[in-house]
């Protein structure tokens, strides 16, 4: 079933950045996990790196609008995120894969993605075709009618990616999407990322520097709730010297940038 492109999709955007944050502050429990973050992201694949506890998950949750920001300003697709009325419209164009997500064990893959497509307010007529397409894209098309409880960890993660892309979102937020994927699947996933990044604003948080180096158009590094670096993967690789810790140029660049940042903060 071919999908017709609607006029809304081809209309020119009236906003400069899909994701635009200024001085964003988000609380996680009592801690200010995101503390003054500036972002301006357009179409492409943006890799988000940072040590554990840097605030990556909290940032992505706030961009997914499930957490309320306690300070700063956030614009998604040109909508200022404040009340709940605006949320609805933005969320229709927003795909989100949480770091940890549960699923309904009795559901088949198709039912799971269909239910989420319904929650995302997709038109009912488009849902069956879109669900099949999304499952095909993550390589689960042939297993669409198996029960979720029989799936391996990697398949569940791919099912999560399928529900995130089922409604052709314009902003796609993926929190640690490569966890549990085997090497072949990871390579396929990077291809999918590049494909998606051509017209979607994709933000991928990961702890694997390699994912970023291969699949992303640019790199953001976060530490202690703030952005400390923004550049291309090539610039990241060039930032490291032979004395820095790491197995690849990108890893050496990553550790070098963090070490430099820590030295600046201490000074």
């Amino acid at each position: 079933m071919a999908r017709a492109v609607s006029t809304a999709e081809t209309a020119p955007a009236d906003y400069p950045w899909e994701i635009h944050a200024r001085g964003l502050r988000v609380r996680a429990g009592r801690r200010m996990a995101v503390d003054g973050m500036d972002l301006a992201l357009g179409p492409g694949v943006h890799g988000l790196l940072g040590p554990n506890g840097a605030g990556k998950t909290t940032l992505i949750r706030s961009l997914a609008t499930v957490l309320r920001a306690s300070g700063g300003e956030l614009n998604l697709l040109g909508h200022k995120i404040t009340g709940s009325a605006e949320l609805r419209e933005v969320r229709r164009a927003l795909g989100y894969l949480p770091q940890e997500f549960g699923y309904y064990r009795r559901f088949t893959l198709r039912e799971f993605v269909t239910y989420l497509a319904w929650l995302k307010e997709m038109p009912g007529k488009e849902i069956p075709g879109a669900v099949q397409r999304a499952l095909d894209r993550v390589g689960l098309g042939a297993r669409a009618d198996t029960k979720m409880k029989t799936l391996s960890g990697g398949m569940v993660r791919r099912a999560g990616i399928a529900q995130a892309i089922v409604h052709d979102p314009r902003i796609l937020l993926l929190d640690e999407p490569t966890v549990g994927l085997d090497p072949t699947q990871r390579v396929q996933f990077r291809e999918l990322l590049r494909d998606l990044g051509s017209d979607t604003c994709v933000l991928v948080s990961t702890h694997l520097v390699e994912d970023v180096a291969v699949a992303c158009t640019d790199v953001l590094i976060m530490d202690a709730g703030r952005g400390v670096y923004a550049g291309t993967p090539a610039e990241l690789a060039a930032a490291g010297g032979s004395t820095d810790i790491g197995d690849s140029a990108s890893e050496r660049g990553y550790t070098a940038i963090l070490a430099r940042h820590h030295a600046e903060v201490a000074a």
């Binding site: 079933m1 949750r61 997914a64 609008t65 499930v66 957490l67 309320r68 009340g83 709940s84 949320l87 609805r88 419209e89 969320r91 229709r92 927003l94 989100y96 949480p98 940890e100 997500f101 549960g102 699923y103 309904y104 559901f107 088949t108 198709r110 039912e111 269909t114 239910y115 989420l116 319904w118 929650l119 995302k120 307010e121 009912g124 069956p128 075709g129 669900v131 099949q132 009618d145 529900q163």
Partner: protein, 317 residues
């Protein structure tokens, strides 16, 4: 009608240079002329014909599953069965297979190995399962079951221990609290974070799930109340107040926590004293009804005013 020349079709199929008006004329002719389409398929490159054959094979497989039974009737006339199946595909009937309303079991062979095409008629229209999920919420069933069990136990206690005040009456206000929590709480809904980020997330989805659960529960409580001799108003009004109270308090501390807190408070402050003194607490006597009504109004107002909170993850704690 003039047909296209073999040469023109060959050049078209192999991507040769053709003037735009010739391409346009040829394509519109091909749409209506089977003979020329046959020429086109012969002229196409192997890579293209392979792909088309593969797609056709997959389609056949799908269609065969549908038409095994009818083909058996027709004997060797497979083409006719396939034609009928293809007609159904275009008429939209076969598209049902993509819909979750159609469970895999529906087209599976029965014990004799034959497909039962007539069986699909007994199933509701496609999309019904989705509609059920849409209203009740996927995590609801076990909690409905538990509440029904709790109601049955209270009624049984009322029948066995006649000296005590009605356990059913004592518990009735908090019986709906469980299903309210099941409709909107991260602890009970495994996919809560996915739900929270969806467009539909918010008060309307919460109310939709809660109302359906309470309506499903109402007949059970009605039978339970009748068996233990409680007047319906005595449990409907406090039950509604607690359901709304859970949502109202949930806007502050999360629906799951609110349900736990309210149930615990009720157990400590009303049920335990009621059982120990063997008297119906004053809050559950008819004089208490106006106060319950006020509580319902206050809670409904709080829920309406703080409705934005339900679109965020915090409301599901």
């Amino acid at each position: 009608m003039t047909h296209a020349s073999q040469d023109l079709i060959t050049r078209y199929a192999q991507g040769g240079e053709l003037p735009a008006d010739a391409v346009w004329a040829l394509e519109s002719h091909l749409e209506s002329c089977a003979a020329c389409r046959a020429l086109l398929s012969e002229a196409a490159e192997p890579s293209v014909t392979d792909l088309v054959a593969k797609v056709a094979m997959n389609l056949d497989e799908l269609l065969d599953k549908e038409s095994v039974a009818s083909r058996a009737d027709l004997g060797p006339g497979t083409e006719r069965a396939r034609g009928a199946a293809a007609a159904r595909l275009t008429s939209g009937e076969a598209r049902r297979r993509w819909w979750p309303g159609l469970r895999a079991g529906r087209s599976q062979p029965d014990a004799s190995g034959a497909l039962r095409p007539g069986a699909r008629r007994w199933w509701p229209e496609p999309g019904t399962r989705l509609r059920v999920m849409a209203w009740a919420g996927p995590a609801m069933v076990p909690w409905l079951g538990m509440t029904v069990l709790l109601t049955a136990v209270s009624v049984a206690l009322d029948w066995l221990a006649t000296g005590l005040p009605s356990v059913m009456l004592l518990l009735s206000p908090v019986l709906p609290v469980g299903v309210v929590a099941a409709s909107w709480s991260a602890g009970l809904d495994p996919a809560s974070e996915l739900v929270a980020a969806a467009a539909r997330s918010g008060l309307s989805l919460v109310l939709r799930r809660t109302v359906v659960a309470l309506l499903a529960l109402a007949p059970v409580l009605a039978v339970g109340g009748w068996l233990s001799g409680t007047h319906p108003v005595e449990w409907v009004v406090p039950g509604l107040a607690f359901a709304l109270g859970t949502l109202a308090l949930g806007t502050v501390i999360g629906v799951g926590r609110a349900a736990g807190a309210l149930a615990a408070a009720w157990g400590l402050l009303v049920v335990a004293p009621g059982l120990s003194t063997q008297r119906i607490p004053v809050v559950l006597q008819p004089v208490g009804l106006p106060y319950w009504a006020i509580a319902i109004g206050v809670c409904a107002a709080v829920v309406a005013l703080r409705r934005g909170v339900f679109a965020r993850l915090g409301s599901q704690r």
